[in-house]
Structures are given as structure tokens and as C-alpha cells.
Amino acid sequence: MNYYFGEERYGNKMPQIIKVGIADMNICYPPDTITTIGLGSCVGIAIRDVTTKVGGLVHIMLPDSTMVKSNQNLAKFADTGIKELVLKLESLGCSRQHMVAKIAGGAQMFAFQNKTELTGIGAQNTEASKVALRGLGIPIIAEDVGANYGRTVIFNPENGAYEVRAVGKDIRTI
């Protein structure tokens, strides 16, 4: 016996919130939404095809896969992660011309991080994400990057709303 009315409406399934971890990515169809929690210096790149309304989110933690030796996990890097997400969306019938991106994250959590070799890793991640998107010809239509606080993001592929939450701040939808 099934009492969930919502399940009928959505083809036997309630809307899910798909979770993406650090150095991870996933695809999302409406009415589901996709989230990643606690973006610090990492960057969350949400890409959506405006016609098919299929979206995806990748949570990258490093800018460049060619600079480090352990680069098997494509979702870890801005250059490979964004490309992989776009290829995946294309394999699902999306077209690159219809894709738009929104990015959030790239903060500097601790004041002294810039003293280590990873100079301003948050800023590097943001820059590398922009370069990768530009290289793929995907416009960035909104961003909430930098500063010194963590962000949780929720992306809705239906309307492209990218909700950014931070501790002690109002929810911002970009």
C-alpha cells in the first residue's frame, strides 16, 4: 500500500536531492535538485542545458591535473572535471551551445594559506574553472566566489537557480 501522492506525480519517485562530495560530480534531472555541502577553497561548477533542462554539478578541489602525480580522479581538477561533466551531459543528449554555467566557492578559509606553496588555492581554482569553461565555450552567467567563508550550494536544473548558503549570511540565489 502506497500513500505518497508525490510519488505518482513524479513517476513513482519523490524529488530527490542528489549529493555531490568533494572531488565528485553527478548529473541531475528535474524535479530533482543537486547539492554539494561545504565548499571551502573548492569550487562548485553547475552546468545546465537550457533546452533539455538537464544539469550537473562538479565539486573540484585543485586547479590543474597536469601539476600533480595522482590525477586518476577526473572530478578532482578544474580542467578535467568540467570537461568530463560537459562530455557526460552531451552523452545524455545535451548540446554545448545550449549550456550555461554558474560557479561558487573558491574562498580562502585560513589567513596563512597563501604562505604555503598552494598560493591562494581558492583563487586558483576559480581562475582555472573560468579558463576551462571559456575553453569549452560555455558562458558563466553567475558567480559567487572568493572571500573567506564556506558555502553550501543547491542547484535546480529546472530553472537554473543556484542557491548559495553560508554561515551567518542570508541565502543567496544566483
Binding site: G21, I22, A23, G38, L39, S70, F110, F112, L118, V167
Partner: protein, 203 residues
């Protein structure tokens, strides 16, 4: 010399690292207890090799608001150490140290500074005992503090580790006084430091 990597760690190595966490955190907890003049217990340390995407869940929720005091470690052993606790617990700790109730929701500069100093003293105790045990030189940096979501704070050592590995190895010890203090010490040595630590102990 560093033929021990995180991909070929045996149970025995894990046990050794656990013992290091035990000794380090034991000293740190003692320092904390003396400083606050209260009894502080600690739990058996955990050594975990985890995927990056699991990292946030290690502290009881990625969105949990925590105070993280973070030090970069240099010398023979390189890596980082973090002393992390829930915001409430951090407030209680500062309140105990300063001998007064804290006003308002946020920390003042003075209170943040006090918290940083607590972090400095107890991570110092942790690293001192590690240094004595292994006879390796360890230089901690000046502590930095950040109060934010656990996931965002833990991504910082994860990123440092991310340049060399696809998994994160951390030595985590929980402490509590059963009333209003609880938190973790998290030691994240770089990959090559594991070999050095284990070799220095005769492995």
C-alpha cells in the same frame, strides 16, 4: 627509505599510527585539562583512510558549524594538524579559560585570540610528544582559526593532501569532558611522512 605508501599500509602500521594518535592526543588532553582545570577524557583514536567525498562526514555532519584551529607542520615530518570542535564547545572552552560568560553570539577578537592560544598550546603538546617519540624534528606554524562549516574547513587539509593522493589518511582522536566540551585532534601527515614516522619507530 619511504617505501611505505598509503596504498600498502598493513594493519600493523595502522595500529602504530593509532598509538601515535593516542600518545599525542593524551598529552594534548592533559595540557587542556590542566589549562582549564577540569577533567577531560579522550576516546580511542581512529586511523582512517578515506575518499575525499567522505571527508565532511567525519565530524558529525558537513554543515555542522565548527571552530577549526589549523597549523601547518614542517621539518622532518610535514603535513598539518587541526584541533576542531563544535562552536558551542569552543565558546564553553573560552568561557572556562577566561573565567566569565561570553556575551553575544560571535567571538570577540580577544576571545578568538584566546581560542587560538588554546589551540597552540595543545597542538604543541601533541606535536612535542610525537617529536620525542620518533626523534624527528617538527616545526609547527603559527595557528590560524576559522569558524565555519566542517566540510569547508576539512577541505583545507584535503586539498593539501589532494596533490599527492586520491585518499586522505587521518589520525583522529576525540575528547570530551562529558558536559560541554568535545572535539577532535586531526593529524594529517603528508604521504612521505608516514614512512619517516614508521621507520623512526623501527619498521
Amino acid at each position: 627509505m619511504s617505501d611505505i605508501t598509503i596504498n600498502n599500509m598493513s594493519d600493523q602500521y595502522f595500529d602504530v599510527l593509532k598509538e601515535i594518535g593516542n600518545i599525542g592526543a593524551g598529552n594534548a588532553t592533559t595540557a587542556l585539562s590542566q589549562m582549564l582545570n577540569t577533567k577531560v577524557d579522550m576516546k580511542v583514536p581512529q586511523v582512517r583512510l578515506m575518499e575525499f567525498k567522505e571527508v565532511g562526514t567525519t565530524m558529525g555532519g558537513e554543515e555542522q558549524i565548527v571552530a577549526g584551529i589549523y597549523l601547518v607542520v614542517e621539518g622532518d615530518i610535514t603535513g598539518s594538524i587541526m584541533f576542531m570542535q563544535k562552536k558551542e564547545s569552543a565558546r564553553n572552552m573560552v568561557s572556562k579559560l577566561m573565567g566569565k560568560e561570553l556575551a553575544g553570539e560571535d567571538f570577540t577578537d580577544m576571545e578568538l585570540s584566546a581560542l587560538k592560544e588554546i589551540g597552540n598550546i595543545i597542538t604543541g603538546a601533541y606535536l612535542n610528544s610525537l617529536s620525542t617519540l620518533t626523534n624527528l624534528t617538527i616545526y609547527p606554524s603559527v595557528p590560524e582559526i576559522c569558524i565555519d562549516m566542517a566540510g569547508a574547513i576539512l577541505s583545507v587539509p584535503a586539498i593539501e593532501f589532494g596533490t599527492i593522493a586520491d585518499k586522505l589518511l587521518l589520525i583522529k582522536t576525540e575528547f570530551t569532558d562529558d558536559v560541554d566540551l568535545s572535539g577532535y585532534f586531526i593529524l594529517v601527515p603528508d604521504e612521505e611522512s608516514y614512512g619517516k614516522i614508521l621507520h623512526s619507530l623501527g619498521f
